[in-house]
């Protein structure tokens, strides 16, 4: 009898992430064993430990499976168009530099259709944190080949295997000027959460690639087993190598995955560079943009 009581009490207890999640939108749409939920948990963990006031944190997503993250996070959250999460976030950040703006979206959204915005936001060192879930596939539309699909992997639009060279996202982000670059898998939950905290506290453009299992499409088409099998694969094949040369971070089909924090450097952010430059040029005529103006 006592055991039943305890169980009921537990059921009535709050979900540990209730302060961060929109509980009125649960259950979410993600498949069981999808890695996006794990990435969201790590993000919620990072937010709970963060000293940044939650009302100043804003999440912007694009379109796709990860694009749905904005809808489940209980913060000011924006579900924008395919590929345009980064420029949307750019406008938001520049309108109110007090905001901590986090872009949470997928590999197709950020590096495929939105690749141009990724490279330019990194170049400008726009003060944004980009969390890019990489599941190697366009999952929302049923599993098509992506700019991140490893060579030879099978997808619904590469039925004979992918022959295109995929992006090395961490190398791309570093080359374009990101000041913080890391990669983790959905298995590395604690390290991922810590990395997210670091990225959010870093001024300038920070980028984290999160390798996630997609059991419904990527694993099934490639006969890689269940989501759990993919997690086992990450366990056996990921190598932590902080400070690794990002040129060596290419992901080959079912080969080892190098994870870690690769870049952590200083460079003036867009807003800092703008203010310093304009004050130098215009002297007392310069009026700093002081946040929301209407």
């Amino acid at each position: 009898m006592k055991a039943v009581d305890t169980l009921q009490t537990q059921e009535a207890a709050e979900h540990p992430m209730e302060s961060i999640l929109r509980m009125d939108r649960i259950p979410h749409i993600w498949c069981s064993t999808c890695g996006i939920g794990t990435a969201v948990t790590a993000f919620a963990e990072a937010l709970k430990k963060s000293t940044i006031p939650l009302e100043k944190v804003t999440v912007v997503s694009g379109i796709g499976c990860t694009g749905r993250v904005a809808g489940y996070i209980k913060l000011d959250s924006f579900h924008s168009t395919h590929g345009r999460a980064i420029p949307f976030a750019t406008g938001l950040k520049l309108a109110n530099p007090e905001l901590k703006v986090v872009v949470f979206s997928g590999d197709g959204d950020i590096s495929g259709i939105g690749g141009n915005h990724l490279i330019h936001a990194a170049r400008r060192n726009m003060d944004l944190t980009v969390l890019c879930v990489n599941n190697f596939i366009y999952a929302m539309t049923g599993g098509q080949v992506a700019a991140t699909t490893p060579l030879s992997a099978n997808t619904s639009t590469s039925p004979y295997g992918n022959f295109e060279q995929p992006f090395n996202l961490c190398h791309l982000a570093e080359s374009c000027g990101a000041v913080y670059v890391a990669r983790w898998t959905a298995l590395h939950v604690r390290r991922l959460a810590r990395s997210m905290s670091e990225a959010m506290n870093k001024k300038g453009f920070s980028f984290i690639e999160i390798i996630c299992p997609c059991s419904t499409l990527y694993a099934r088409r490639n006969r890689l087993g269940s989501g759990l099998d993919l997690m086992k694969f990450y366990h056996d094949n990921s190598v932590i190598k902080h400070g690794a040369d990002t040129r060596e971070l290419e992901i080959e089909y079912q080969k080892k995955i190098v994870v870690g924090k690769f870049v952590d450097r200083e460079r003036p952010s867009f807003m800092d560079a703008y203010n310093t430059w304009m004050r130098g040029r215009l002297k007392e005529k310069f009026v700093e943009h002081g946040g929301p103006q209407c």
Partner: protein, 385 residues
């Protein structure tokens, strides 16, 4: 509320239409502009980039027009009035995110200095062939507001009006100028700031917890909040309910999309802005806007000298279309002569509203140059037969 005097260059100036647009934007309180260079609109961005650091504004030259449009939507939700400026090819690239602005009900302004198209067309020469694209260029069903200035003075005034209407109706507003108006230089009188009326953003007074992002009252326009105010809102381009949460079924689609359409269509009377010239005794109406309306004046004068009773009706707000006005005029007028730099865009609206009760004659032009007033005169003569 009144304009902030710090941004307003009160006095008489000699400005081209593009620069007048920039001054209108600053006077209207726009403090975020994102854009990508494109002829013949670039001068708007150039002047903004020079002026903004002195008035606390941020200009960013984006990597493309898709990014520019997305950035101004983000900036609006961040609490800053925002605007972008482009011409035909860039306008095409903005279309998807113009749909997003419509769906999220984001106040923002897009200036299109029209050039000849399609495709790259005539980059340095005028056109007026993006009028239907301004109305419905993005996918799905919706309504926007579009204004069409015909002088640098009006560029200044219409950008302010566009910003105000975007705030009032929470809709993207298009300023449809053209290369001629954009590049012609004329006297522009900028009034003192206390004579420039601005429509304040419709921020809610409700506290978090009671506020719903898409609950509306009688005027069908929801109240707004900005990111960072503690409301923890969610907004999405998916079909959504009053909470802003996705709710994808035909019932919600009917409720939401009908409201997006009706909040403009049912305010047609409030959104009527036309200029009339010699209409008192007119039997024939020239219907024209932008630069074409000015080219029509010599034709009107010539016809008047010959005793033809012709007047000019110029829609300053083109969308929503002044439907009732055209229907009323069709009852008593002999004919409409529609002068526009395309092969029939607003013409078909005039024809539809005239309902066969008055003759409708199109004086088309493919763009690249303005109409020959003689062609307009000949059309008036034909209408008078």
């Amino acid at each position: 509320m009144k304009a902030d005097p710090k941004g307003v260059l009160t006095g008489e100036h000699y400005l081209d239409g593009d620069h007048a647009c920039s001054e209108g934007a600053i006077a209207a309180g726009v403090r975020f502009v994102a854009g990508y260079p494109i002829t013949p609109s670039t001068e708007v961005a150039e002047r903004i980039s020079e002026r903004f650091p002195e008035v606390g504004g941020i200009f960013i030259q984006m990597e493309d027009e898709m990014g520019s449009m997305a950035a101004i939507i983000g900036a609006a939700w961040g609490g800053t009035k925002s605007l972008t400026v482009t011409s035909g090819p860039g306008f095409s690239l903005m279309m998807e995110n113009i749909g997003l602005a419509t769906m999220l009900e984001t106040p923002c302004v897009v200036i299109n200095v029209q050039r000849g198209g399609p495709s790259t067309g005539l980059p340095t020469l005028p056109g007026q062939a993006d009028m239907m694209q301004a109305r419905w260029g993005s996918h799905g069903d919706y309504e926007i507001i579009a204004v069409s200035p015909n002088s640098p003075q009006e560029c200044f005034e219409m950008v302010i009006k566009a910003v105000n209407l975007s705030e009032q109706y929470r809709v993207p507003v298009m300023v449809m100028t053209d290369e001629c108006v954009g590049h012609m230089t004329e006297k522009v009188v900028i009034p003192p700031a206390d004579q420039i009326e601005l429509y304040p953003r419709r921020y809610t007074k409700l506290p978090p917890g009671e506020y719903l992002p898409y609950r509306v009252g009688k005027d069908m326009v929801p109240e707004m909040v900005k990111a960072g105010d503690g409301y923890k809102i969610h907004v999405t381009g998916l079909t959504h309910d009053e909470r802003g949460y996705p709710d994808m079924n035909w019932q919600m689609q009917e409720k939401l999309v009908r409201r997006l359409v009706d909040k403009i269509r049912l305010h047609e009377d409030d959104l009527l802005d036309i200029e009339e010239m010699q209409m008192d005794d007119a039997e024939i109406v020239i219907f024209s806007y932008g630069i074409s309306s000015r080219v029509s004046i010599p034709a009107l004068q010539k016809a008047r000298r010959e005793g033809i009773k012709v007047g000019l009706l110029r829609p300053i707000i083109c969308w929503p279309f002044p439907e009732k006005k055209i229907r009323q005029l069709a009852e008593k007028m002999k004919a409409f002569v529609v002068v526009e730099m395309n092969y029939g865009q607003l013409y078909y609206e005039v024809e539809r509203c005239a309902c066969g009760k008055a003759k409708t004659i199109l004086v088309p032009h493919g763009g690249g140059w303005v109409h020959d007033p003689e062609d307009i005169y000949q059309a008036i003569k034909e209408a008078a037969k």
